[in-house]
């Protein structure tokens, strides 16, 4: 019965493949001959595709729910004892299902995009639909012909191989869907950019349309990356959250260029400049999203699932990436002359110049991270040597650029568009500069000697004070006119300029994250010691005394639990019990670190091996202020939501429309 279910899924996907081909053709014909019926047909095909792919994904998910091991993908990634939650998330536990999830997002966003922009962008619509349909065709073709999650095996094995144990964790279960949501949401701005390029009319309209899509994609990507870091920190127990692994880099690359794009489209919106640059950035961001999928899923770099690579799959993905890159960049190159900006930079001290510099730093950071990620391949191609590029390289080359970006975050928003007088700029930045100096002095006194750490501390202090002062100035100006209280004025200022202050809140969130990274990175304390009962160690502000190890029985496990009394300034504050558990049913040993989190820092204890006379090895970390990373993430999300809720002010629209009309269509 259920065996026929994935057959339905396969038929649905195959139909969707045919429909996506039809949509490309119909949309292209509609663009050539402006025949609206064809365009309506193409649009409806994309909407039907969403239903079809949803059905296809559902058949696989249902096969997991009922643990139908006659489906190969289920047999390889589930087990009858796997809890329902992980049977559901196992859908994206391996290659085939991940791509199905990718495709599902693509169809969802395509359907939403054609519905909400249908009326507002009639001239670009054929090309938007053709682009989205072409990307869909590329992915559905892959899933149907080369990487099918619908394949069956006969006879069905009695039980499945189970989900990779590393993925059996809530943090990691929801990390891929968020990351993919971010990757895929960039396809809509990409489709708008392609349409703008083909029409040779990259005016303000496409920038308006993609602003929210870009914000959404950016927020999802940010969340995916942060959730990955959260999982690494709380579950892996090595006290860190980011390792510059190729897979992590793959998600960071589109984040960097997407962040650049999010900023530079403001210059096009407000000042009608950077047209070519913007289309270049979005093509790059989408290409990097695809590259991320390609790197993680093809085994080109040392990564997961390499042995399962069917050479056909890698070739197909590379060909697909090549088509997207050649078509995207080809259009940029071919149409660049039509996109010449209407205005030029007037001054090196202007918002637009600052945005340009910010973009250059972000892009340079992306370039060095990309180079570091692909470097092992390049070296092997040239000399045959195998090398790995580790964290020291990335920390050395990428971190300084990111510090520079943080510093620019302080200057950019306070500098007005067009130009500012040097004297006025000095006045604006006097206090932030002073704050940076004070922070530097404090850091030097605290014993920080690393140049890059000091620079980062200065940059964070500078930008934090500049951002807060900017809030204060706006509210004070509002009060001078409206005579409200501080709170009501702040509320009004924020509400009236949600785009700007949403962005400023995001900046604050990023600063909070940077603050947490700096503090935990520079002041982390680590000890690995063998302790006898009664002995104690000092970690951060705490005094940790080992009391011994005892046996504890849980519902489905037996554990050895260490008892530690934690005191602060001689006053007992808590007891911590890191455990080593052995789960009988799964015959699995897990290490349960004991973590006492507070805004001041995390005390993190791991119980190691036991020795004679009740002694045990103990790993302890004091990670100061690390909780602020996740607090900052929430602030970023709030800021993105505020910025996304803004409608672009009506006052600007006629002017922008007038500019757009001046350009030949």
């Amino acid at each position: 019965m259920t065996a026929s279910l994935v057959k339905i899924g396969l038929s649905a996907a195959t139909t969707a493949f045919a429909l996506s081909l039809f949509a490309i053709l119909a949309a292209a014909l509609a663009a050539r001959g402006s025949r609206p019926a064809f365009l309506v047909g193409a649009r409806n095909a994309l909407i039907v595709n969403f239903a079809l792919v949803t059905l296809a994904a559902f058949t696989v998910m249902w096969s997991f729910v009922v643990t139908d091991f006659s489906v190969l993908y289920v047999a390889e990634n589930a087990n009858s004892r796997l809890p329902l939650l992980y049977r559901l998330t196992a859908l994206w536990g391996a290659h085939e299902g991940s791509l199905l999830l990718w495709l599902w997002y693509l169809c969802l966003f395509s359907a939403i995009a054609v519905m909400i922009h249908w009326r507002s962008h009639p001239l670009s619509m054929p090309w938007i639909i053709a682009t989205l349909a072409a990307v869909q065709a590329g992915f559905i073709g892959f899933i149907v012909f080369l990487s099918s999650p619908f394949r069956e095996i006969f006879p069905a094995p009695p039980d499945g191989r189970d989900l990779n144990p590393l993925l059996q964790d809530p943090g990691l279960a929801f990390h891929p869907p968020l990351l993919y949501m971010g990757y895929v949401a960039f396809s809509v701005p990409f489709a708008f950019a392609v349409a703008a390029l083909i029409r040779g009319h990259a005016g303000a309209e496409w920038v308006r349309a993609v602003r929210r899509w870009t914000l959404f994609a950016w927020a999802a990507l940010t969340s995916g990356i942060m959730l990955g870091g959260y999982w690494a920190y709380y579950e892996l127990g090595w006290g860190g959250y980011w390792a510059w692994d190729p897979v992590e880099n793959a998600s960071f690359l589109p984040w960097l260029t997407g962040t650049a794009f999010l900023h530079s489209i403001m210059a096009q919106d407000r000042r009608n400049m950077f047209h070519t640059w913007n289309v270049f950035l979005i093509v790059t961001t989408f290409a990097l999203s695809l590259l991320g999928t390609f790197l993680v899923r093809s085994g080109v770099l040392t990564s997961v699932h390499s042995f399962a690579v069917d050479p056909g799959r890698g070739t197909y993905m590379l060909a697909f990436l090549a088509v997207v890159m050649v078509a995207g960049y080809g259009l940029v190159v071919w149409r660049a002359e039509r996109l010449t900006a209407a205005t030029q930079l007037e001054s090196a001290w202007s918002r637009e110049a600052m945005l340009l510099v910010n973009n250059l730093f972000l892009l340079a950071a992306a370039a060095v991270v990309l180079l570091g990620t692909l470097y092992p391949l390049i070296v092997e191609a040239v000399s045959g040597d195998r090398v790995t590029v580790g964290a020291p390289y990335f920390n050395k080359v990428a971190i300084p650029m990111l510090v520079a970006v943080v510093f620019l975050m302080g200057i950019g928003p306070v500098v007005p568009w067009r130009s500012i007088k040097a004297r006025r700029l000095r006045d604006l930045l006097r206090w932030p500069a002073l704050a940076a100096l004070v922070a530097l002095a404090v850091a030097l006194l605290a014993g920080v000697r690393e140049a890059i750490g000091l620079a980062a501390i200065g940059a964070v202090a500078f930008t934090l004070s500049a951002t807060l002062l900017d809030f204060r100035r706006s509210v004070a100006a509002h009060r001078a006119v409206a005579r409200g209280g501080w709170l009501s004025s702040t509320w009004r200022v924020m509400r009236n300029a949600r785009q700007r202050y949403g962005g400023m809140i995001v900046h604050l969130g990023i600063l909070v994250i940077a603050f947490g990274m700096l503090a935990s990175g520079l002041f982390q304390q680590t000890v690995i010691v063998s302790l006898k009962p009664g002995e104690s160690i000092a970690l951060g502000p705490y005094h940790v005394t080992f009391r011994g190890v005892e046996s504890v029985d849980g519902p489905n496990y037996r554990a050895r639990a260490g008892r530690f009394d934690v005191s602060r300034d001689g006053v007992p504050v808590m007891e911590m019990r890191p455990e080593k558990r052995s789960y009988q049913e799964r015959q699995m040993v897990t290490t349960e670190a004991a973590i006492a989190s507070s805004l001041m820092g995390d005390l993190y204890l791991v119980l190691g091996d036991e020795a004679a006379h009740g002694a045990a090895t103990v790993r302890g970390y004091w990670n100061p202020l690390i909780l602020w990373l996740w607090v900052g993430w929430l602030v970023v999300l709030v800021g993105a939501a505020v910025a996304g809720s803004a409608r672009l002010s009506a006052a600007r629209t006629p002017a922008a429309a007038a500019v757009a009309q001046e350009q030949p269509a």
Binding site: F280, H305, F307, Y329, L374, A381, R386, Q587
Partner: protein, 187 residues
């Protein structure tokens, strides 16, 4: 109007050449990467000590432990009954196992990864019995220590207990010979 059209005609500019060059170079590197044999994956483990393990033996008597295997070059093969590619290397491994039994300069053990003893026994009944011992790793815990991604995987460890090579995917005669030479064993 003509001047406008001319000003909009595509022109060859330096940045276009650079952009085109970078795109082509990147695609070329990735294409080359695909042609590589993914079996030779650099492992984090290579150059380090073999992770400690002490696993109950598959047949139920005794323990297969890393500490007992020190001092002689060692081959560790991760396998499972559900692993299709393991069937491809089975003949080579059983043959090599018989050969190793008669020499004292190299040893081999298997690790039965995330499998059930009954299924593993059926697998050996069907394809031939290993002439060496296998430890049971039903939870995959030891596999995680070794960084096992997918089966089969084979690790080559020298007499000092340092991992010298990791082979991902079914072993071939040539790969076995090459990797054995890395731990000072000739075949």
């Amino acid at each position: 109007m003509t001047t406008l059209a001319q000003s909009q005609a595509p022109k060859l500019r330096p940045w276009k050449l650079v952009l085109g060059g970078i795109v082509m170079a990147m695609l070329a590197v990735l294409a080359w990467g695909l042609t590589r044999d993914p079996s030779y994956i650099p492992s984090q483990l290579v150059g380090r000590s073999v992770p400690a393990f002490a696993l109950p033996e598959l047949n139920g008597n005794g323990t297969v432990a890393a500490d007992d295997l020190r001092g002689t070059p060692l081959v560790i093969n991760f396998w499972a009954s559900w692993c299709v590619s393991c069937r491809a290397e089975h003949g080579l491994l059983t043959g090599f196992g018989r050969e190793v039994a008669s020499r004292d300069d190299v040893r081999i053990v298997g690790i039965n990864y995330r499998d059930a003893p009954a299924a593993a026994a059926r697998f050996q009944d069907e394809l031939g019995t290993f002439s060496y011992r296998s430890g049971q790793d039903p939870s995959g815990r030891t596999g995680i220590d070794f960084g096992v991604y997918g089966l089969p995987e084979t690790f080559f460890i020298d007499r000092d207990g340092i991992v010298m090579a990791r082979h991902v995917g079914p072993l071939t005669e040539a790969a076995l010979k090459h990797n054995l030479s890395l731990i000072g064993v000739t075949r």
